[in-house]
Homo-oligomer: 652 residues x 2
């Protein structure tokens, strides 16, 4: 059951798809203080809070403050409050579980026992919000209720579950050809290669760098014949350049975000000066969405939308102020006070909060300052693409995932979790994030395997491929200036090949369970406590249930040759060294220290359940379903209902 | 046995105190490549590398590259290569353990299976180094050999083992008075309050801000009567200000670091323009050391030396270049290339590597560019103090610890591990760092409990006080702008009081074991593998042995109510809720999941061993040794040899 409570006069977000009447009573269980614009609620010592989608820290969100404000900040350290998303659904599991969806585009702070260890404090900028209260007997049922409220999740083509190789950037078509040849040579399966910003002509959306990617359409075809999909990036900012059609059309039609005086906001991203399409304006959204056709026509079947928080290097107006401000510090004795202010002038230039107040949207017939609806920007960029794909490719699914997100966007695309780093702590974080994303409807998601920023190491890359082996989005991506992460660059390539072969062997299960979750509005990744009610399951933060059959317990510490695993019931452990070389062992309920070599992968099959295992494959299309084996524990192979379809036909 | 091998012509560091002849043969087990200035050695799959003192990551250093270059970088993220120290001692534990001390002041990279997973690569700037090879049967013996080589560790006064409260900054004497009164009111023991930079008159070393700390000598006395020692900070940079005696004397005597043209280097730190005493110059060292007398005469008995990597906000020359460089970017379209360069001009202004090439030292009768001897700077600042204390306070110990360090400095002071953050991962890091510091002779050491940067939370503060309860330096310190961390500011003050009471109850044991380690050149904190040879002990990274009697296994995860503990042999677990409320339980060798509430502390007593427990005390002086109880496991109280002394008389 879902009830809707309203405070103030919230701006419509289109996060939900059901029309639920607003309750007349006030929201139960919370104390509302209009003056401080806060809501408070006591948490018992045992209460656990789940959810909030793409955020930092634990599965249990207690003990920190999270700010719902889509942020391009590549330093995902544990004291940060915001990542790229605003996903305001959470479950308080106290005496009985209750789900809450905080439907507002504004920046909200969720202080979950941080300031006061026993109190959940929600702090608004303005007290304008629709609060949906989801009530059911179990956390699983609460999520299901919520997912009905927000509509079915995006379903990508099946090839998008294959291994993807990415880098900022592959600079030429030949570099991509060489990469694909290397994967072929080492017999490592691959389904996609991602094109980061350098495939474009000077970072202009919907253009091709013809010099380095000549005859792009032929190149796309050539790659597809090798079973490889090219997936280009699309940025939110449009380069200011006379003669560039997207820019000129946008200006002509008034589709760009405007300043208070009505002139177009000039901000900067990769190409320098750029303008931002007003994705909140329906017409602009349609116009921009139609631009994807250029690439669809070239044979492209998938995209990733980036820089859509939006990321702003600077606004032209602020840059002028910066240079003026700098003048004041010239020739001075810069001391403790002035030196750090001086550094801050330049250090805080990008993604400056003040810049978000410099421009406006045309939304729902009104002019609204950006900061009031900031969290809807990336969502509506991806909605722009998703709506266009339905028009332009009504029958065939198109892959789409975004960096910034808001609940509602899950209907149009998945997400990747942004610019993580090659840190062991981020490997662990990537495990913890998955169930929270699933709760909020973001099923097709994953992190940059191996880590985007900083240098990876061979063991980290391998452990991460193992830890993420059930992630729907299975992409290895890394940043310019960091160590190369293509799997053939490492010493023990055979280990990497074995793990990616296993990924493909699991795809029948991954796809089957993903699709069931998508079609039934359920979770694909779950915390143990969503299935088991014992105290230990409640505090297990480094193991997950994946689909109906298995539990995973990845190794996430460097130099470890094993780890502790908690089994909430008897399970069968399967230890894979490769697709054909594995052992099965029954383990009893309780604690175990499990050895897991660097080249090994362990999976735990739940009693009464089945894990289908496909044969060796070169890519997703190549998976021969007639050769599937079934690993079982206290079950028959036939107990498992394997979902499959053509992987291409559009479902929603 | 220790052998010394020499490559090139190393600059003398005075890290060692034994004169060991240089071997004629070349260094065994390593391949030396003179062209690339690297040494290489294969590591077996099982090999573990210990040591390197104050560095990031694990007890086992494999899988990363560490750069020995004292750095003021407050972002201790896991991909950083350097912290504040250069402590080049490590043990390779392969078929048999071997210790190496890499005695050189230059920046050296230790690539321990990072670039190549099977290879240890040591990369020099210049191949000038004395390599000491320490050979013995066990890792413990190797450390003991090494510690003979480098001389006995600094011993602080006993009161320095009490609880210390710090903050950047307490701004007035009244603020300190109020703090001390609050600790008294809540009956929380305390021995010291740290004065950060604001006790000085405009950040001038050896001055007092008379307005906010009037009648300083009386104030010191007043606090001491309450059992509280004030511990002021001393910075490496001396403010440029006419009429300021330290500045004027330094200029007159030519004691400051000079540029190539012979003029004094003007760099900046807290006060803005400043000059750096040439601590490598013996005369300058003596001159600066004698300045501490001003504060000793005021009744001060302890100091912390800061900013001595050295930290440089900017050099005057570079700042001019910065402003000139900025001009070039005015009015330009700053794009992907130019924007980040522009940001970098200002972002990289502080601690800029080029600035370390702008000045020179007079060292051993030669003029040497700073970057060649950079790692000796902080060491010699602290040596300056340590040598002075022997002259000025020949009988009484003076507390001294430093941020920057180099082996050799351990004879003159301890260290704190610098500007950590209120991160759970830094709580864990602080556990892992302790044995490595001990190996390198740094016994009196500890981290900022609760975390210096970022906002702490009540649970993190409490868990950190518990995790660090055996740290010799037990100081709660936090940065300006972060949440207050004084223990009485939290909700459940009683829990904090109970834990600090326990700290004091452990001081008889802590001091006894610390002193034995200091006097015998042994370790106080040890990895399990230094005592137990089983495979599991080798990879246990989150438990430590403390002294001869106990093992600790702190909780370092938020919201956890327990943790896995590995017992390499049967042990007795003592679970303390307070000094008087505790249970004892015998646990068998193997794995256990141990519940540890937020307000609980568990300690594991090894068989045949004894843990003395003192009574409630207000401060270290107040500990009544006649009331010590002895917790035993398969032992008699009399089996424990309790070391004690007056805690004040100078020993070395």
């Amino acid at each position: 059951m879902i009830k809707r409570y309203r405070l103030g006069n919230p701006i419509k977000t289109y996060a939900t798809v059901m029309d639920i009447p607003v309750e007349k009573e006030t929201l139960p269980d919370w104390t509302i203080d209009k003056e401080s614009k806060t809501l408070k609620r006591t948490l018992s010592k045992e209460a656990i809070v789940y959810g909030l989608g793409e955020t930092l820290r634990g599965i249990n969100k207690r003990g920190w403050t999270y700010r719902s404000f889509c942020s391009d900040d590549s330093q995902h350290m544990e004291d940060k409050k915001s990542l790229y998303a605003a996903q305001n659904f959470f479950i308080i599991d106290d005496e009985k579980p209750v789900g809450y969806y905080w439907d507002t585009p504004e920046s909200v702070e969720f202080d979950i026992g941080c300031t006061d260890i026993d109190t959940f404090i929600i702090k608004h900028q303005e007290l304008d919000v629709d609060i949906y209260v989801c009530i059911a007997d179990t956390k699983k049922e609460i999520v299901k209720e919520f997912r009905k409220l927000i509509g079915l999740s995006f379903i990508p083509p099946k090839w998008a579950f294959g291994y993807g190789q990415s880098r900022w950037s592959y600079f030429t078509a030949d570099e991509v050809r060489d990469l694909v040849a290397k994967y072929e040579e080492h017999d490592i399966p691959i389904d996609s290669v991602y094109l980061d910003i350098d495939y474009m002509d000077r970072y202009k959306d919907f253009t091709i760098n013809e010099k380095d990617f000549p005859n792009f359409n032929d190149f796309v075809k050539e790659m597809k014949e090798k079973g490889v999909h090219l997936v280009p990036i699309i940025d939110a900012g449009v380069k200011v350049e006379e003669g560039y059609d997207v820019y000129e059309e946008g200006v002509k039609n008034g589709f760009f975000c405007k300043k208070e005086d009505g002139s177009n906001l000039v901000a900067a991203v990769w190409p320098g000066r750029a303008m931002f399409p007003d994705f909140l304006n329906e017409e602009a959204r349609k116009w921009f969405g139609d631009k994807y056709k250029i690439l669809l026509d070239a044979g492209i079947e998938g995209f990733w939308n980036d820089m859509n928080e939006p990321a702003i290097f600077y606004t032209e107006d602020h840059l002028k102020e910066v240079f003026e401000e700098i003048e004041k510090y010239k020739g001075k004795n810069l001391d403790i006070d002035s030196f750090f202010k001086f550094k801050g002038i330049v250090g805080d230039i990008d993604n400056n909060p003040e810049d978000f107040k410099r421009f406006f949207h045309e939304y729902e017939g009104k002019r609204i300052r950006h900061d009031k609806v900031h969290n809807l920007f990336g969502y509506n960029m991806t909605k722009s693409a998703g709506e266009a794909f339905k028009r332009l490719s009504p029958d065939k699914r198109i892959l789409m995932f975004s960096r910034s997100s808001f609940i509602g966007m899950h209907r149009y695309g998945g997400i990747w979790t942004g610019d993580n780093k090659s840190w062991w702590s981020h490997l662990l974080l990537s495990i913890k994030q998955m169930p929270a994303l699933n709760m909020c409807g973001f099923l097709y998601s994953g992190c940059d395997l191996g880590g985007f920023g900083a240098d990876t190491t061979e063991d980290l890359m391998l452990r991460w491929l193992e830890a993420g082996i059930f992630n729907p989005l299975y992409r290895n991506h890394s940043a310019m200036g960091t160590r190369r992460q293509e799997l053939y660059t490492f010493k023990r390539v055979e280990d990497f090949k074995n793990i990616v072969d296993l990924r493909y062997a699991f795809i029948p299960y991954i796809y089957s369970e993903f699709m069931k979750a998508a079609l039934n509005g359920e979770m694909y990744f779950m915390p143990l406590s969503f299935e088991y009610s014992d105290d230990r399951s409640k505090e297990t933060e480094d193991q997950l249930l994946v689909g109906e059959s298995i539990m995973i317990a990845p190794v996430y510490e460097q130099n470890a040759t094993g780890r502790f695993v908690y089994l909430p019931e008897d399970m069968k452990m399967v230890r894979f060294r490769s697709l054909d070389d594995y052992d099965e062992e029954e383990l009893t309920k309780g604690d175990h220290y499990v050895k897991v070599g660097l080249n090994e992968l362990v999976v735990f099959i739940r009693p009464g359940h089945v894990l289908p295992i496909g044969p060796k494959a070169k890519n997703v299309d190549d998976i021969d379903y007639s050769k599937i084996k079934y690993l079982t524990y206290k079950a028959e192979a036939s107990d498992y209902e394997l979902y499959n379809d053509d992987g291409l036909t559009r479902i929603q």
